[in-house]
Symmetry: C2
């Protein structure tokens, strides 16, 4: 698959075939893509927690807040929840900062997931205190983001930004998720 196709398919998916399992080895392959990616000053201070068992998945799920713009939707129902998670941590014993390493790592992991027929969603709205407790994380780990993964059970389409300029994504009556994107010419300075 060409990189453009992979990126086009790499949308934020929030509903999944929950019974489609993601293997531990599959998750390790995805983290290996992040491992081989660039990190600022080559410091490699990111660490990862993997989850693909129902019990651990349930613990993580409870700490996530889903789709801020969909006000009447609280997240996927049982049967449509993610099958796996990768939690991205910063190991503060290695370095103070981590540049934009987590963005690079997340993109590598999600593009790898799409190539495997999976899809995912990355979270900033995480109850980090509750999640650190649930995982019994030592204090020197900072939770940067949670990536939910699974076999997508929804259609996500990119569309042009309307004249209102509203960037909020929305879901239509058929359940199709629409994501307005700015035009290329609006992103490049003259």
């Amino acid at each position: 698959m060409k990189i453009r196709e992979l990126i086009e398919k790499n949308r934020s998916y929030r509903r999944f075939y929950q019974d489609a399992e993601v293997s531990q080895e599959g998750l390790r392959e995805l983290v290996d893509l992040a491992r081989l990616s660039s990190t600022g000053g080559n410091l490699q201070s990111l660490k990862y927690v993997l989850s693909q068992t129902p019990e651990k998945n349930a613990q993580i799920f409870k700490t996530l807040k889903w789709a801020g713009y969909l006000k009447d939707w609280d997240g996927p129902e049982e049967g449509e929840k993610p099958s796996a998670y990768v939690i991205v941590l910063h190991d503060q014993t290695i370095s103070k900062g981590f540049f934009w390493d987590h963005g690079i790592a997340v993109q590598s992991i999600l593009l790898g997931a799409v190539e495997k027929g999976l899809g995912g969603c990355q979270f900033n709205s995480v109850d980090r205190v509750a999640l650190a407790q649930a995982l019994a994380l030592p204090d020197h780990f900072e939770i940067l983001t949670v990536i939910a993964l699974g076999k997508p059970k929804e259609v996500v389409v990119i569309e042009e930004l309307g004249e209102s300029g509203d960037i909020k994504y929305w879901r239509d009556q058929q359940g199709i998720h629409h994501v307005p994107k700015r035009a290329l010419d609006d992103l490049i300075l003259k």
Copy 2:
């Protein structure tokens, strides 16, 4: 190319065939990959400056500090400098923050570059004041990172981290650039 191969080839390159031009259209295609990538809250607050003319390239080059760990190397000589740049900005009129969007965007751009037979290097060590002046950037743009691009003229190899645990990259007498990477098992919490 499979995503793993693309990521393996996407090393930080710092010497280039300077006369191998990168077209304006090619740079636009790379930014389009960033445009189609995920951004926090779908805010899309990143903007881009493109450069592929000798004059503008020279202005940008002057503001960069190269390869912190190579103490006796000040950066590429004339003839081996980058042929193009993409400068990633945050547009503060759109949003206050930008999550880890720049990492995602940089990774999309660089993977696209590798697919085109190019390679690049991303910079945090940028004289942002001088660069903003050179580009006559309005105040509401914050320079996040500079991506140097070109046709790579050096070999970069990944190797296992030695027992010393030293992550500094180094260049051998043949000019090959070595990048020690931590092992996968050292990145995944048990």
